[in-house]
Amino acid sequence: MALLEVVNLTRDFGGLRAVCEFETTFDGRELMGLIGPNGAGKTTVFNVVSGFYAPSAGQVRFQGKNTAGLKPHKVTALGIARTFQNIRLWFDLSVIDNIRVSQYYHLEYGLWDCFLRTERYKRREAAIEHNAQEILEALNLAEFAQELPKNLPYGLQRRVEIARALSVKPKLLMLDEPAAGLSSADVDDLIKLIGWIHKEFDLAIWMIEHQMDVVMKLCPRIQVIDFGRTIADGTPAQIQANPDVIKAYLGDDAI
């Protein structure tokens, strides 16, 4: 059974067809790139898969389960985590609290446990704290645990956001332009980090990225969309040689 199947996905906004008959499949541990010019519909694909928008037509199946009609937090609990194009941390919660809150999907205690501080509450909170520490240590963020994200440099904020997504223990990690706004040194770190996550964690990674060197270095398979339609699908070398892709990025007349 495939991990993620996106079948014939279409999403309209009023009269605008943002995504048209998009298809993709993840079997388990791929690292795939999704590229395309601005406004091509990449983030819309992510928003539909993460449950934020309902598809206008077509299906998203995660481990065989149709995610239509599920609220985003339920979709995330199934094992799909994502980051955002513009960093969306909770900037006034400490780094470790960011990671703690995003484990909400497996709190496993109720309100009464919380008021009465039952054994179950203590056990679960300790486990959540432990998970959070573990993830921070794995991503070299342990020393910033008590800091507020708003006081961290941009590159570290990206890293915290990725750590937060990993705390959901996802089977599919979606990164929406992780390199946006990073300095070139930070970009090199990011490439190493994503490669390392892909190697260490049992998950598939799906990334939208504008910086071609990042995608080309990391992703064995790349899909290209333009005006909502898939125009190419293949290895970096195939994509670079594809005339439709060149046309989409540079325009007709330039060739």
């Binding site: 609220k71 937090h73 994502r82 909770w90 919660l93 809150v101 484990q103 909400y104 919380c114 501080r117």
Partner: protein, 341 residues
């Protein structure tokens, strides 16, 4: 050892207050000031959950207070008051001592359910819309009570004094002072446990970025409902205490002015801070008493102070920080590194 500091301090404070009241070192006037202070602490810390931690804007706290006040008073009078109303008494007077907290809780529960009814339709919206809906809801509650003859309508409802008398008949101590004190501690413990849990941190996450919270697996609808119900339920308990302390309630006690007082305390203390909301309730109650000779004039002075506060210290006394953040020594004393209690 350290974990006993707070309970021991609390217990000795209660003992001191009770002793002082019984030896007349604390006269009736100061006792009533203390009780209103306690009620205000409950109001401001509970409203702070919604307006401070969750970042919504609820303006109808007095409405939930009214529900709690009426439910617990009507229940108490129906169960215990001799003669007339509902054919009682059904229970002997000495039981008041044990049943009273349950009556308060019943009022709180009714207020929480009312909160749910208000929250369900209104949480599709945010910000300004919730403000309008909560104002509307508190007016609906007020006019409903005004039009129910059985609880006195606009004339008000009384008879609670019989219940407090029944309690002093059992043992002559200032019972209401005791109950207010207990309710304040109950409220502070409940709120503190709530906001320090991972569940409760979700409330802050919703305030800071609701979309991110939803995407990161937080059930935002549930969190908003639970928080709003908790806040209105505690307001209901405050309402119940208010009714028994005064011995008389009428719908006119629960107008927008009352809601505004609660909001003033929240903004004065600093949003999202329990200790800030507590401190500001204390300061606010004292201020009201100090300015009492000015009569209506105090409603010129207090809004003026609010304007000045917004100009020069918009984050309030504490502003999303607790006393332990501001006085690090206190944190060490209480042995609360990071998180605790």
């Amino acid at each position: 050892m350290r974990r006993f500091i707070v309970p021991a301090a609390t217990a000795s404070l209660l003992g001191l207050i009770l002793l002082a009241s019984m030896t007349d070192a604390l006269n009736l006037y100061w006792q009533s000031v203390l009780m209103f202070m306690g009620i205000n602490i409950i109001l401001s810390t509970s409203l702070n959950l919604v307006n401070g931690n969750m970042g919504e804007f609820s303006c109808g706290h007095a409405g939930f207070m009214a529900v709690g006040a009426y439910v617990s008073s009507v229940l108490a009078v129906a169960l215990f008051a001799p003669g007339g109303f509902m054919g009682g008494p059904y229970l002997p007077g000495y039981l008041t001592v044990f049943i009273f907290p349950l009556l308060l809780l019943a009022g709180g529960l009714a207020a929480a359910v009312t909160g749910l009814l208000v929250a369900l339709p209104s949480f599709k919206t945010r910000g300004d819309y919730l403000a309008i809906i909560t104002i509307a809801a508190s007016y609906i509650i007020k006019s409903t009570i005004e039009n129910v003859g059985a609880v006195g309508g606009a004339r008000g409802f009384m008879g609670m004094a019989k219940i407090t008398t029944a309690m002093t008949d059992v043992w002559d101590i200032p019972w209401m002072l005791l109950w207010v004190f207990a309710a304040v501690i109950f409220t502070l413990v409940v709120i503190r446990r709530y906001v320090s849990s991972t569940f409760g941190k979700g409330v802050d996450a919703v305030r800071q970025d609701e979309i991110a919270a939803e995407i990161m697996s937080v059930d935002t609808d549930r969190i908003k409902l639970v928080t709003f119900m908790l806040s209105s339920g505690l307001a209901g308990i405050a309402g119940g205490l208010f009714a028994f302390v005064l011995g008389y309630i009428n719908p006119g006690s629960f107008t927008i002015i009352k809601s505004t007082e609660a909001m003033v305390m929240v903004y004065l203390g600093g949003m999202g801070s329990i200790s800030g909301a507590t401190l500001s309730a204390i300061v606010f109650t004292l201020l009201m008493e100090v300015l009492r000779p000015l009569q209506v004039g105090k409603w010129v002075i207090i809004p003026m102070m609010l304007i000045l506060l917004m100009q020069f210290r918009p984050e309030g006394f504490f502003g999303h920080r607790e006393l332990t953040d501001i006085v690090p020594g206190l944190r060490r004393l209480l042995g609360r590194e990071g998180d605790g209690k």
